[in-house]
Amino acid sequence: MIIQTIAFYAFAAVTLISAFMVIAARNPVHSVLYLILAFFNSAALFLLMGAEFIAMILVIVYVGAVAVLFLFVVMMLDINLAELRQGFLKYLPIGAAVGLVLFAELMLALGAWVVAPGAKGAIAANQAALAKTSNTAAIGKVLYTDYFFLFQASGIVLLVAMIGAIVLTLRQRAGVRRQKIGDQIARTREEAVTVVKVPVGGGI
């Protein structure tokens, strides 16, 4: 138990520090690397809670895909973060104040942590499958059956995003030479090769 607690605080502390460094780092590439560190530590936190599936998804999707994509974007776009961060210090106090007020309000409100009386039953009903199997298997059982509709609808959301990205950025440029495989294959020997008699010592 004590080891779990120590591990939790260690991972949580590293997550917080690296999250802070994401916005504090001077070099945007360092920011993304700190972001990856934060993802890894959050994954570890999920593992401690027994949510191994979400932990792995976090590593695969966020670290493997999203963060690497960020890294590419940051490297390729050459964004001048120093310029973007011009007003950062100026607005820091007011931003911090707003954050603190919100935090205090939420603490006051959520301090009286009373779960609705019927909630226990509702949670238990959802977790029936979990008692017997690992949570990867449990998700697998419901994802394509009970939540089939959401699965499909999310697919359409991604389709919308894809169409949108293409519509807003794809430009047909004039004068682009494209490979026409049909034309290449349809070429005959006569079109491509001519046999020339070269006189001896004459050259062409």
Binding site: A116, G118, F149, A153, I156, I163
Partner: protein, 478 residues
């Protein structure tokens, strides 16, 4: 058997999804020249889906994620009509602006699919997926004139603020899930009805309402509306002012009257505040506007305030008033935007109110139609808009919301000023240069909507009232 029931209940959604994908293929393989075909087919798909909704069945589907009631069906038909009309009105404007590409109608069909899923949601997750589908598609169409700085600005602004609203809603959903232990609407209602609702759930409700109020653009989450309305291409603005508004308002009604019914006292406070603030701000801020698209933005903020007042009443009468209000609002808005889209000089769109000067001399029929819409929006009897407001105020008064109703009436008097100012400019000012001839589809839309606003609605109210009644009754069946 279960699969078949799912199919029956979600037929309109499947028509839209399959239709959008087929149209996308047609467009992708036949290239840019297919755009007219795709546009007409997408209108056909939307109308087909509307027919499927009308003849559809009620009930839950997909393991309790999806719910059809007479109320959702009424709102779906209105949203589908709004989208179909928006596509019909887009062709000439978008072609002139060089943005008439086949993706445009397809994205609107997908946005409408999102609206339908939103309206039918019976689970917090369905709600979020539907909302995101609709929003993402709308961000794209707002920025559809990608070479126009203002259109791009509208898209980015809408996207950033919409993302913040989505975050708030997600956070609220997570709180509700945490305190109720379930995301299913029926189960949430049962859990909260069992005892005094916990404070955390109320905070969750506030966050969810904030996200939805952003989507209907009611005060205090209205900041994006004037800029997005002004910047987006005008047919897109016409779309924004009807279909998504109707869908988001329907969702708001379904949320407040469904899972959060036991928290009605709390949501009523919020709704009254939002409603009164929207009515007032929609009236006062519009007075100084010179651009008619911005004016319509403030007008829609005000109109949403009136509709929310009906919801704040929380009674069957109130919900009925909301449905009637949305029917009339659809007609008035679409008609007005048909007029705005016809404001062209030498093939260039103009959008200042001063451009309407002396419209009565140059285009008497268009001026007459716009007169009907403005009088109707101002709520002057015997036009349809009057009955919309009357129903809302009656419901609010019967529910004991005297102060809110009084403030609403006062706000509608103030709002009448700027509607009447447009009429004054059209009829009494010296004529400006005439507009280009009104195109046939615009003229048809204008005429149909004007005739609906007066006298059709006055004479043939009963079928609308009956369907609104049936829709509202869905929440009060026990």
């Amino acid at each position: 058997m279960v699969g078949l029931e799912n199919w029956q209940i979600a037929t309109p959604e499947m028509i839209l999804a399959a239709g959008a994908m087929v149209l996308l293929m047609i467009g992708a393989f036949r290239g840019e020249k297919s755009v007219d075909l795709v546009a007409w087919l997408s209108v056909a798909v939307l109308i087909g889906a509307a027919v499927a909704v009308i003849f559809g069945t009620t009930g839950t589907a997909f393991a309790g994620l999806f719910l059809n009631t007479p109320f959702t069906m009424a709102m779906k038909v209105l949203s589908l009509l709004g989208s179909a009309l928006a596509i019909l009105m887009s062709a000439s404007f978008m072609r002139r602006e060089g943005a008439w590409r086949f993706e445009y109608p397809v994205i609107i069909v997908l946005a409408t699919l999102g609206m339908m899923i939103m309206l039918s949601s019976a689970d917090l997750m369905t709600l979020y997926v539907g909302l995101e589908m609709q929003s993402l598609a709308l961000y794209v169409v707002a920025a559809f004139q990608r070479d126009n700085a203002r259109s791009t600005e509208a898209g980015v602004k809408y996207f950033v603020l919409g993302a913040v609203a989505s975050c708030m809603m997600l956070y609220g959903s997570s709180l509700v899930y945490g305190f109720a232990g379930t995301t299913n609407f029926a189960a949430i209602a049962k859990v909260f009805a069992a005892g005094a609702p916990p404070l955390g759930a109320v905070i969750g409700l506030v966050f969810i309402l904030a996200g939805l109020v952003f989507k209907v653009s009611a005060v205090p989450f209205h900041m994006w509306t004037p800029d997005v309305y002004e910047g987006a291409p005008t047919p897109v603005t016409a779309l924004f002012s009807v279909a998504p508004k109707i869908a988001a308002l329907g969702l708001l009604v379904a949320i407040v009257m469904g899972p959060f019914r036991p928290l009605m006292a709390q949501s009523q406070q919020i709704l009254i505040m939002v409603s009164v603030a929207s009515m007032a701000w929609g009236a006062f801020a519009a007075i100084r506007q010179e651009n008619i698209k911005r004016l319509m933005a403030y007008s829609s903020i005000g109109n949403m305030g009136y509709a929310l007042l009906g919801l704040a009443a929380g009674t069957e009468e109130g919900i009925r008033a909301v449905v009637i209000y949305m029917i009339i609002y659809l007609a008035m808005s679409v008609g007005t935007f048909a007029c705005i889209l016809s404001m062209r000089r030498g093939g260039v769109s103009v959008e200042r109110i001063a451009d309407l000067a002396g419209l009565w001399r140059n285009h008497p029929r268009m001026a007459l139609a716009l007169l009907f819409f403005m009088f109707s929006m101002a709520g002057i009897p015997p036009l349809a808009g009057f009955f919309g407001k009357l129903n809302v105020f009656l419901a609010a008064i019967n529910a004991g919301l005297f102060w809110a109703s009084a403030l609403g009436v006062a706000a509608s008097v103030v709002a009448a000023y700027y509607y009447l100012r447009i009429i004054k400019v059209m009829f009494l000012d010296d004529p400006a240069a005439p507009f280009d001839a009104v195109e046939a589809p615009m003229g048809a839309v204008m005429a149909v909507m004007a005739v609906f606003v007066f006298p059709v609605f006055l004479v043939f109210q009963s079928p609308f009232l009956a369907s609104a009644q049936a829709a509202a009754h869905a929440f009060f069946v026990r």
